[in-house]
Symmetry: C2
Subunit: 340 residues, 2 copies
DNA sequence: CTGTTAGCGCGTTCAC
DNA sequence: GTGAACGCGCTAACAG
């Protein structure tokens, strides 16, 4: 094992451990000559300070935990890239926890708030419920939410209602009346109102505003995924009076819709308009019209917020909320409805 | 901060810290009555042992570091999912380091092999050079390579030469003679022979075997990315005698080729055949014919190997090498060449 | 400026 | 069976 300790160095350099520690931490009050000797000893012994011991005595870990429904969806990857970029700049290590099911999440919330191992916590998308929030806050560990809502924590979010509105409005302006909405399951097992539910709200609002009646059969939900979305779209297109446009709550689901259209020999956008949400990379490949949200930026902003908290900064509004802008990306999967 | 320590618990339960520690670690020799009292105290104080201190005295961290050119390419995401799955089962935490440039990598290799903070190390794709390997091995920390080669470490790999051969052979059997190969830059800054170079070798071999002359103008390389690939394909298609098939060293690059074909108003596969490598998720969306490699599985195997090493298992062959199978996925971007 | 000492919070001996 | 003391490697506070 890597066994040379600070004491070995001190002995070899003929100084005390305190001095070695000072050299290590660039403390100013060390005579140049002494510093030389110490550094020589360090080099000669190939000594590396033990980070664990360091943490122990400093009470900080230099670790930031990120809880995320990890690699499942491309949008998280984008967000995490943003997070990582910032953390790396500030010399923090990223401990990533992949949370996909309820069990794992419970376990995590139970184990995490030790307050010792992590200096801070970044939670993506699966925000805490009230009980968890309580525990988290009691632990005193700084927490920032990304794409999740809880009044007690600083967070970076988007206006999903607005997003749903934007997408639907776009379709309406194109002349569509028969507009369907498909999404993942709104009542998530995490008992919180998810993004899709808020996008649904925007959809309803745009419809209402344009005087278009909401048709329950035009609204479907299922687990997130291409296949499931494809099936939903399939069902939609088999309707006696099928929609002329489909708004999918995520680009991934929009892909499923595209697949279904192909199955039905429908041309997009001539026969069927499709719009997604997120603007992940694939969206561009597929020329998918979609609502862009700043994924990478959300990670950056969240991480920066957390780091400012770690540095002891306090905020004017007790809990800052950063809202990122949305914009419609008009590619090639939407067009006016077929003339008949 | 979370400040209740083992001493508080001991005091409250009217026992010594040793006893508390025993209760915590389920040590048998604790009287039931005492254990009761201690557990009550633990509950009352909401005490959680400090993992850092625990690591310090136990000499283990329960952390596994993963070094990867992180979120850049979808294929890594797939691999990491596999890794995470296994690690979670064995109660290891995953510390993920995003290494994309040489500077960061140097820094990492300098800092990492402390032998203290990580129980094990998983290196993806960017394998160590001899000097780094030396240092790594000297540190005594168990290392497993995934998709990287170095004779000193156990690794899970694929036969990239075979993969390149498979792809090219498929094209040849379809009747193609004018077959191009595009890839990222073979002489990587990491001074090791990368996957693309080995796939290139397979390409050359298949060509030679079929008696087809290699044409230097049919071989291009540039940085990895859709745009770059698109440009390469563009140049290829402008040739006086353009290829009738293009083999891209990765699916991402194949996407660029598809784009270029579209620009040139070439139908795929009627006018141009395209084959990729990896079989990432998008490949399916795009109906891309490609060479499938077990990405998720590579993560699983690598992590399992590492864990066995951590458990002190030794291996028959000094350094085990797991080679995963490749197979051609025949979708809809390859066909016989245009009849004339 | 620099050596010494006291913890950081645990696990692990020892004696009892 | 159980408590007290020691040590993990390092930083910080205090003398000198």
């Amino acid at each position: 094992m890597s066994s040379t300790t600070i004491r070995d160095v001190a002995k070899r350099a003929g100084v005390g451990v305190g001095t070695v520690s000072r050299v290590l931490n660039n403390h100013p009050s060390v005579r140049e000559a002494t510093r030389q000797r110490v550094e020589e000893a360090i080099a000669a012994l190939n000594y590396k300070p033990n980070p664990i011991a360091r943490q122990l005595s400093m009470g900080r870990s230099h670790n930031i935990a990120v809880i995320a429904p990890f690699f499942i969806r491309p949008s998280f990857v984008e967000r995490l890239r943003g997070v990582d970029t910032v953390l790396a700049e500030h010399d923090y290590d990223l401990v990533l926890y992949n949370v996909e099911d309820q069990a794992k999440r419970d376990e995590l919330y139970h184990v995490l708030p030790r307050g010792d191992f992590f200096d801070g916590l970044l939670i993506l998308t699966l925000g805490p419920d009230d009980e968890e929030a309580e525990r988290l806050q009691a632990s005193g560990i700084p927490v920032v939410l990304i794409d999740a809502h809880h009044p007690r924590f600083p967070r970076v979010i988007i206006d999903d209602v607005e997003g749903g509105y934007l997408a639907t409005r776009h379709l309406i302006e194109l002349g569509h009346h028969r507009i369907a909405y498909i999404s993942d399951i709104l009542e998530s097992p995490f008992k919180q109102v998810g993004a899709s539910a808020r996008r649904y709200e925007g959809y309803r609002r745009a419809l209402a505003e344009a005087g278009i009646d909401f048709r329950p059969e035009y609204y479907r939900q299922d687990h997130h995924g291409v296949r499931e979305a494809q099936q939903m779209a399939h069902a939609l297109l088999e309707l006696p009076e099928p929609p002329t446009a489909i708004f999918a709550a995520s680009d991934t689901q929009a892909i499923g819709v595209l697949r279904a259209a192909e199955e039905h020999r429908l041309r997009v956008p001539q026969d069927l308009s499709v719009i997604g949400f997120d603007d992940i990379e694939v969206a561009e490949y597929l020329n998918l019209t979609t609502v862009h949200q700043p994924l990478f930026t959300s990670g950056v902003e969240g991480a920066e917020l957390l780091i400012r908290m770690l540095n002891g900064e306090t905020f004017d509004p007790e809990t800052p909320v950063i809202q990122l802008p949305l914009r419609l990306i008009n590619r090639q999967t939407t067009a006016p409805p077929p003339s008949r």
